[in-house]
Symmetry: C2
Subunit: 268 residues, 2 copies
């Protein structure tokens, strides 16, 4: 899915919502089995109920790997279940290795699983990101500035040039790709830094986790929007675990629609 | 496997060799099938032939994920094939995510796959490393300073305090664990920086890739050795692809023994 198609989807659904499928067997409603089959059934129901409100689904790969072979199968089948072209499929894998290893991860997520996008961890620099950018029509989403406490340990360190590590990181990574194949992860609680980030990448799409449960405010994101939105805002727990009964999918849809309505206003 | 056991293994085998199982179906000898079954057969033969020279096996997870479900099965069965306690089993996964996601990765690699160690990517800081350190008897191996060109983009940036990013990263990560549960990845071609690294972590084990094919010199590593060695040196291609005929395993053993003999001298 290219940028124009993503922009069109955002306009059509009046939404820039990404639903995070961080599906944990231990948190499934009681009527579903606490295993990979239950995870798949849960995901399908969530996708059915939220597809009209979401322009992206983000699959948190860790949750599937924790279930071994059956988890990988649930991952494959969940991806196959999402209607192609009706939402961006993001593998939230945060892979961060170089060269031929990165090639193999790209093959796993872009070729075999046919995801539209993958999140990558840029600590090792250019050669940990470039292999993913070679895939036409696919998106690479690099960690930029995250909202966790650990962001202080590396991302927020002060550089000799007066900037912080995340700024130089974003600047050098931005040169590897372009606005049509590269996005950045920016934490929603980092509003104080939005200006600095947009000064470096005025037009790249940002993937923003942490609205809702993690404390970020949707309205704060208005200032980072581009002409074609330039934003994907992820919500996981607030939507998928809105309810723990047999009505979980309907309740998830209500939460998703609530966010979509706010987004619709912001898109005007 | 705790540090004492690892040290005893190094003494017993007179080796600190780690064999990297970056097994690529396209590079298998002609008599093996170019799929996950071929990968498993190859790995078993390599393990059989190198076990007396290697104190560790490092499985590059990307190569298995690129093969999907069957790749995950080959990964499981390879790990199950390595005799417990006779070598350290490292999942070279370079996972780099936080909180509950990191918990899930820890579960996948430490519980389900029963690896002894996992490599992690520390860009997101403390909360991307701590969840792995909670497992007693397991090792977390954080990226420190790598030898790829991309190391210039983040790891080698100059900080306002006069140090480089990797130094502050190693220092803050070292505080999260201890010498018995935390190692660092340091590139073998980074000899100019060994002093600085040992000034920060005088006694932690270092996992060093890049000897041989990637240009690092084994002898240079003498200066970073600790009383109980404190080093694992990885070699992948140079060993496992030493030969592409039916004699690949014997030829791999010859390469492994060659390195082991050098190591034996260094351990004296």
């Amino acid at each position: 899915m290219n940028r124009q198609e993503l922009g069109a989807l955002i306009q059509k659904k009046k939404s820039f919502l990404c639903v995070g499928l961080d599906t944990d067997p231990d948190k499934l409603p009681a009527h579903l089995t606490k295993d990979a089959n239950g995870v798949l059934d849960f995901n399908k129901a969530i996708i059915d109920s939220t597809l009209s409100f979401a322009v992206a689904y983000k699959l948190n790969i860790a949750f599937y790997e924790a279930l071994g072979i059956e988890g990988w199968r649930a991952l494959q089948e969940t991806i196959a279940y999402i209607p192609k072209g009706e939402s961006l499929i993001i593998a939230d894998a945060k892979r961060g290795d170089i060269g031929n290893t990165a090639n193999q991860y790209a093959k796993a997520f872009f070729e075999n699983l046919d995801c539209d996008a993958i999140t990558v961890n840029p600590y090792m620099g250019r050669d940990s990101v470039e292999p993913f950018l070679l895939y036409p029509g696919k998106w690479t989403i690099a960690l930029g500035l995250t909202s966790n406490i650990g962001a202080l340990d590396i991302e927020m360190l002060d550089l000799a040039n007066g900037r912080k590590v995340y700024e130089d990181a974003i600047e050098s990574l931005a040169k590897l790709g372009n606005e049509d194949n590269l996005m950045f992860v920016v934490g929603a609680t980092k509003a104080d830094y939005f200006d600095k980030i947009r000064a470096i990448i005025p037009n790249h799409f940002l993937l923003v986790p942490g609205v809702g449960a993690q404390g970020g405010n949707l309205e704060d994101l208005k200032e980072v929007m581009t002409n074609d939105c330039g934003l994907l805002v992820n919500s996981s727990r607030q939507i998928i675990y809105a309810d723990s009964t047999e009505e979980f999918a309907e309740k998830a849809a209500i939460q998703a629609e609530k966010l979509q309505l706010q987004m619709s206003e912001m898109l005007k």
